[in-house]
C-alpha cells in the first residue's frame, strides 16, 4: 500500500494536494481503490459547485459497490477530471496520478487540519483491526 508523504489525507480515504496555484487536487487513496476493486464509473461534482468540508460530493463505483467521496476541505470545484469518464480504472492504476477533482479552497489553511501520511497509515491500520 502506497501513502506518499507529500499529500494530506482524510479518514474517509481521500488524498489532497495543495498546488502552486492555490488549488487543492483531490483523489482516493491506494488503500481505498484496493478495497473497492475495479472501478467502472465515476460521478464527479460539477464545476462551480460550492462544497462544505466533509460534504458528499462524488461517487466512485467498482464492479462490487458504490462508494461516496467527501470533500476534504471547503471550497469551490474548479475542475473535474474528464479522463475518468472513459477510463475510471485510472483510479486503480494510478491512485495518486488519477485525480478526481480540484477545489479552490475557501481557506488554504484548512489543509493543515487533515492527516499527514504517518497519521493516515495509523488510521488504516486501526481500521484493519
Amino acid at each position: 500500500m502506497s501513502i506518499p508523504s507529500d499529500l494530506k489525507y482524510t479518514k474517509s480515504h481521500e488524498w489532497a494536494r495543495l498546488e502552486a496555484d492555490g488549488s487543492v487536487t483531490v483523489g482516493i487513496t491506494d488503500h481505498a481503490q484496493e478495497l473497492l476493486g475495479d472501478m467502472v464509473f465515476v460521478e464527479n461534482p460539477v464545476v462551480g459547485r460550492t462544497l462544505k468540508a466533509g460534504e458528499e460530493c462524488a461517487v466512485v463505483e467498482s464492479v462490487k459497490a458504490a462508494s461516496d467521496v467527501y470533500a476534504p476541505v471547503a471550497g469551490e470545484v474548479v475542475e473535474a477530471n474528464a479522463d475518468l469518464e472513459s477510463s475510471p480504472d485510472l483510479l486503480n492504476k494510478e491512485p495518486y496520478g488519477g485525480w478526481m477533482f480540484k477545489i479552490k479552497p475557501a481557506n488554504a489553511a484548512d489543509l493543515a487540519g487533515l492527516m499527514d501520511a504517518a497519521a493516515y497509515e495509523a488510521h488504516v491500520e486501526s481500521e484493519a483491526h
Binding site: G37, D38, F41, E61, K64, A66, N92
Partner: protein, 359 residues
Amino acid sequence: MLKQTPLNQKHREANAKLVDFSGWEMPIHYGSQIEEHHAVRRDAGMFDVSHMLPVDIKGEGARAFLRKLVANNVDKLQTTGKALYSCMLHEGGGVVDDLIIYFMTETWFRIVVNAGCADKDIAWMETQRDKYAPGLQILPCHDLAMIAIQGPNAAEKFWQALPGSENETRLMKPFTAIVIGTMFVARTGYTGEDGFEIMLPAKAAPFMWQAMLDAGVKPIGLGARDTLRLEAGMNLFGQDMDEKITPLEAGLAWTVDLKSERDFIGKDALLKLPVTRQLVGLVLQDRGVLRSHQKVFTAQGEGEVTSGTFSPTLNVAIAMARVPVGVSVGDEVEVEIRDRKLKARVVKYPFVRNGKALV
C-alpha cells in the same frame, strides 16, 4: 469462526482477497475481478465452489420422493447422469432454494444446494422425507470439494490437467454427469460458458487445483462469478428469488411443471396465486451502475432491480428487475439511482452466452 474449504491454502498462496460468504471464507477476487471475468469468457477459469453442498438421496422410492419435493419434473430425467435445474418450494409457493438434481440410478439422485441454504434445505428435506418417504436416506456430502472450470478452453485445459479424462468426458452433453473413480464430473456451470463442475474428495482437491493452474487455468473469485452468472441471465437465490417469491414471478416458469398430474409441494399455491410481476432484463442507457434494490418506474407501475452490475463483456450496466406484468421487451423504463432517474431499456436475458453479446 468462518468455515474454510479444502482449497483455502491455495487461495492464500494466490493472494486472494478472502471474504465472509454465507459463513465461509471465500475468495472474492485474486487481484482484478474484471480480468478474471474476461478470462472465463475468453479462455478458462476455475472457481472453488466447495461451499456448495452435494446431498445424496439414496434408497427405494427416491424418484417418487423428488416428484413431490421439487417444482420441476424429475421424470424428465431418464438417462443416467442427466441433470435438471429446479426450485424446491414451500407450501405457499415461495422458493426454499434452487438446485440441480442429477439422476444416477433409481436409488441414487444427487442434489447440489446453495451454501447459505444448506442447513435449512437439509432440515426441510428431512421433514418432507419423514412425511412422504420414511425409508429414504438424505446424505449431505460434507467430505466433497467442488471445483467449477469454465470457459471456451475449459474442456481442453481440464483434459490437459487430468490425463485420461478426455476419452471419458469428450462426448458429454451439457447438463449431464458421469462418475470417474472418486470424481463426479458434470458438464454444468453458472457462467454461460462450456465447462465442468467437478466434485471430488476434499483431500484430492488441492492437487486437482494445482494441476489446473499448471495447465493455465486462472483462479476466479466469487466477484466475477456473480457478474458472469448475471450476464448469463441465471438467477441467484436470495436476490432474484427467495421464500417470499414464487418461481413464476422470478423468470423461472420454465422450470415449473404445472401440466402433468403430478402433485408437488407448493403446486396448489402456484395455481391459485395471481402472477402480477415478472423478471426482465435491463440495460442502462445513461452512464451509471445498476444495483440490487434500486426502484424501477414503468408505465405499468413500480418495480425493483433484483441483481445489477456493470457488465464487463458489454461495457454497460445490466440488471434483472422484477416489474409489473405488462412491461414488454423494448420498453423504456426509469431506474432511480441516488435521487436521479436514469433511462433503461427492457431486454430479454441472457445478456451473454458462449462469449457473445445477445442484447
